[in-house]
């Protein structure tokens, strides 16, 4: 296959192709698709068991519980992001491609969020109901998760990219990534708690949006640099 016969692919084309491929691979492996969601449900279940089944107590911590569980579920699913590609060599092909790595990484991150983040967002009202979250706070919870979970995927991607070549990854990934995600957790959970107390939350959303904007523009750059370091 010489360079002359390969049809020109636009950056947008490569972006869409990467996104579609990752989604396709995920849907072929149903278990990988379900595990993060099940993990999310199980972690949330642990809190009433461990803390108290009392509705008042649960209502007070419900926002934090859902947010922390979403964070952990996102962490757990991160390992799938580059590992299989690293092992079968397709990650190297990605790095060799003439397209800017920034957009390919972004496509992979978006695919990861669609697979692991979006289901959590969709399921969150059900869990909020089971944890007695006051009714007025539902929309805030869903919206903060909708803005916040992509940031988790984007930051997490940097950690996975840095550790993809290592033998044992699980714990070091958590040690690297979790401190970076703490601001998102603080603001996201705070917004929901504030709504419960009737406080205004516009500024929380502005901050979350700003974090998403910063993460979208910087994180893929760092992930791309990290991938080039790890794969060499």
């Amino acid at each position: 296959m010489s360079a002359g016969t390969v049809p020109e692919v636009s950056t947008w084309g490569a972006f869409v192709a990467t996104l579609r491929r990752d989604l396709l691979v995920a849907f072929k492996r149903r278990n990988d698709l379900l595990n993060p969601i099940m993990f999310f449900l199980i972690v949330v279940t642990l809190f009433p068991l461990g803390v108290s089944p009392d509705p008042l107590e649960l209502a007070g911590i419900s926002a934090g519980v859902v947010w922390v569980s979403a964070l952990l579920a996102s962490m757990l699913s991160l390992d799938n992001l580059y590992r299989a590609d690293y092992e079968d060599g397709s990650l190297e092909q990605l790095l060799l491609s003439p397209q800017p790595l920034f957009f390919l990484v972004l496509a992979k991150n978006i695919a990861h969020w669609l697979i692991s983040g979006l289901p959590v967002v969709v399921l969150s009202p059900l869990l909020a109901y089971m944890l007695y979250l006051p009714e007025g706070a539902y929309w805030t919870l869903v919206l903060t998760l909708l803005i916040g979970t992509p940031v988790l995927s984007l930051f997490g991607s940097i950690g996975v990219a840095l550790t993809v070549g290592l033998g044992s990854r699980g714990l070091i990934l958590a040690v690297i990534v979790l401190p970076l995600t703490m601001p998102v957790l603080i603001i996201g959970a705070k917004a929901v708690t504030d709504v419960m107390f009737g406080l205004p939350v516009g500024s929380h959303f502005a901050l979350l949006g700003a974090m998403l904007a910063v993460a979208l523009s910087i994180a893929p750059l760092a992930s791309a640099a990290a991938l080039r370091i790890s794969v060499n």
Binding site: I158, L162, G165, P179, P183, L207, I218, N232
Partner: protein, 248 residues
Amino acid sequence: MWLWFSKLGSPRWFYELSGRWLPWLYGAMALLLLVGLTWALLFVPEDYQQGHTIRIMYIHVPVASISLACFPLMAIAGAITLVWKMKLADMVAKCVAPIGLWFTGLALATGAIWGEPIWGTWWAWDARLTSMLIQFFLFVGVIALRSAIESPDAAARACAVLAIVGAINVPIIKYSVEWWNTLHQPASRISMDAMSPNPPEIWVPLLIMISAVYLLFVISLLLRTRNEILVRERRSQWVTDLIARSQS
């Protein structure tokens, strides 16, 4: 300028230069520590509310202020490593991480010792305490990554990326944490700034102590970096000569 820059990249040049600096730094640190500690521990007047416990400040504040400088320093050294592939910058980045971890831990520990008599608790989820704790975790992450990657070159660049990402995050963490807590307990801020009527007899010894502990930081960073240079350059001629000379 460029000559100086390329010279600075040479570990040998740095080793010899820092060897000439060290005696002066030791002397200055000893002098400042002696003056600062005697003044702070014996002659500073007791605080009208806190009594003798105010003296913990003369350790706590210098240590905390230096721990805040370590992460930016590590990120800058990391950026130099990535851009110019300067070996010395990576050695500094590697050596500053455990020192930063120690100073952050010391700041937390001295803060706890100070907090127990004054606030009545060793720990509070106060904004400053929490952001220091998160900074502690960030250092742990960088050190863990460094030890996990076997190839020194890959470890250098991976840690540089992580340090830069972390340094971008440090102010975000600081502000989000501050803002997270000030909503619920604005009172704790006042207890921290309770000594705002601040006469020179309080802050001059503090300034001396800050300079002394800064020198301690510089010295430990230099010593660590010098060891790192010797380890990494152990196969080069000048290091074997150095060892031969020290053994004869």
